[in-house]
Symmetry: C2
Subunit: 427 residues, 2 copies
Amino acid sequence: MKAETVEQKTDVHLLMRKIGERARDAYRVLSVASDTQKNEALIESSNAIRRNVSEILKANESDMIAARKSGLSDALIDRLKLDENRVEAMGKGLETVAAFPDPVGKIMAQWERPNGLQIERVSVPLGVIGIIYESRPNVTADAGGLCLKSGNAAVLRGGSDGFHSSRAIVECLHTGLKAADLPTEIVQIVPTRDRAAVGEMLNMHGLIDIIIPRGGKSLTERILRESRIPTIQHLDGNCHTYIHSSADAQMAEKVLLNAKLRRTGICGATESLLIDEAVSDKLLPDLIKNLLAAGCEIRGDALAQKIDSRVIPADEEDWATEYLDAVLSIKTVKNFDEAIRHINFYGSHHTDAIIAEDSAAVEAFLSEVDSAIVLHNASTQFADGGEFGMGVEIGISTGRLHARGPVGAEQLTTYKYVVRGKGQTRP
Amino acid sequence: MKAETVEQKTDVHLLMRKIGERARDAYRVLSVASDTQKNEALIESSNAIRRNVSEILKANESDMIAARKSGLSDALIDRLKLDENRVEAMGKGLETVAAFPDPVGKIMAQWERPNGLQIERVSVPLGVIGIIYESRPNVTADAGGLCLKSGNAAVLRGGSDGFHSSRAIVECLHTGLKAADLPTEIVQIVPTRDRAAVGEMLNMHGLIDIIIPRGGKSLTERILRESRIPTIQHLDGNCHTYIHSSADAQMAEKVLLNAKLRRTGICGATESLLIDEAVSDKLLPDLIKNLLAAGCEIRGDALAQKIDSRVIPADEEDWATEYLDAVLSIKTVKNFDEAIRHINFYGSHHTDAIIAEDSAAVEAFLSEVDSAIVLHNASTQFADGGEFGMGVEIGISTGRLHARGPVGAEQLTTYKYVVRGKGQTRP
């Protein structure tokens, strides 16, 4: 038994090394491919997905049967499930990515030095990107397409419940790559459900350049803990909507209800409402009534409880919690400064909004709240690459290095300095 | 004894937490400070350094005495040593940084969505930066100044051999901060030589946002291994100069000698010469003769050995070695492709140069060599923030995320998205 485990481990190790080496070779080819060639691969992949709807749905159905048997939760089953609309959305997504300008080879800056050296900063791909995600088949198409467009080779490790679906989608991407005369190893899927493969990926220094986790908190935290490879982090979205005393009451209500309840399971959903004490008496009674009527549980501080007895007492932990559910915490604040301090302290620096008409308060909020996305008079649910006009996204970065906010093709590039001389030596 | 160790550990732990908390508070103030205020602090710091030359040199002398007693190597003593010129260079560096445009608050991109949302991508500071470096007192001034300009609070942990020198320099920075009415906690130096402080810094998640190591390979590798905080890496510089068959012979010799020998201990020094076989017979005899005459040891492949019997046989390890010394490895290559493959495989993706007149070969090299800096007809020793016109630098990044190449004030920023609406909700 022990020997078998060791052997299995070795097998996975060798398998993953092989995948990594193939990815590196494929990256070398892709990194200098033309935009035309990359776009052809994307369009042909999109066509293949549309041609193969029934094969993809069949593969998904076998995943769904197994998932139901194993007792997967409804929320996860919903993420796993594909239908014709969702498959069409994947095809459309690849088309959108193809239509964007090439993020590689852009001259971001150029200057000349007094000694005549010509310096350019030029965008280049990141390299080989390992993407570790839950059983959401659409991530396979989105991530594969974004990596391809940005010149990166992708090693995809999706949740094992979506194994067959992802495989069917990757086959379509391979059809597209072949049509464009590009190596299929540009997009590889890890062909085993063995969880040891994830551990291997996190230690493939020299083969994988960047790890991107896309999934729940426990996945991303494991990766941050174990990875020896730099990651683009996507941690939690403890998002706030702050209703300032100068807010338009109707707008405040409309935006807050959308921010909280449009979809409660996404990272841009508002989890905490802050409201100036000065307008609590006027605005909170209706707000709370409407939220409760819509099925939202409310946990609030003393003042919120006083306003409506159905408000459950909130404790310290509530301020720091991303519910991802129809639950809202309410904190009344004495003034603007208390709101800012609360958000910067308890928030996760993801997305926060102010509803206000006072432009001085608005500008101070947008400047002082230290989050990837700060909004004025708009729903936090706009925190999304598609809504930002970036086509599909690979996640929303809450890290501070490299990319912040939605991660699209442009965010999957880095740069190099190209220096042209005439024989200059350094004195 | 054991109890004492535990107590010491606790002391250092508490001390470092305190420093981290102060840094966060100071960062909040600095992140919204005006450029004028930051520049005043820089200029006044520069003035204080110039006023206090003798105090700084006295502090440095006491470091030097201790270092000599403890048997520090000549190379390290040279890095530790300050004189009037080096102190003046620190003052000048701070002035240069002040003269640059504010890297914070720049609108990097802006667009409007069909629903009327106005989106801006705006540069913001990284946060609290922990800098861990060797006993090079000038890093204290450079890193402190760059962090201040870019709106970041700095926690500086310099090598213990330079303890007094760094402290004297930080006092000058504090004078500048006070003069500009900014908190002195913007630049803090770790006030203990206890090495446990480094371990603490690497785990101060939530207090320190980014770790920047600046030092030798063992320091940076330890940090990559242990840090739970994202780092801007500075690994080794195994730099190549490739003499293409189309190279101008005189230029090739002049540039190579400079690239290898101007200063052998810096990361931009060439460690390996690649040369096309077609021109080896013509160029190598003189090149080798002159390198040897200049005191450079040469390790080469069979062909290089045949050309000059004083060439020592090179082995596989030589191709991957950063000598940081007067040693050069020479590899003759059959053609351009072999050169590119060799550089991308054995190099460290830091800085590589081609000497050539054939423009097709030049463009292919600049595009295909996957390094932070690629040069044409110029010395690899130009790999330096100052030479790039960025004023002082905090190091040269060999990582692929965030910053690549010289890290100046602009590279110490990230961005946020500012979204302005009129009550939009997401459908």
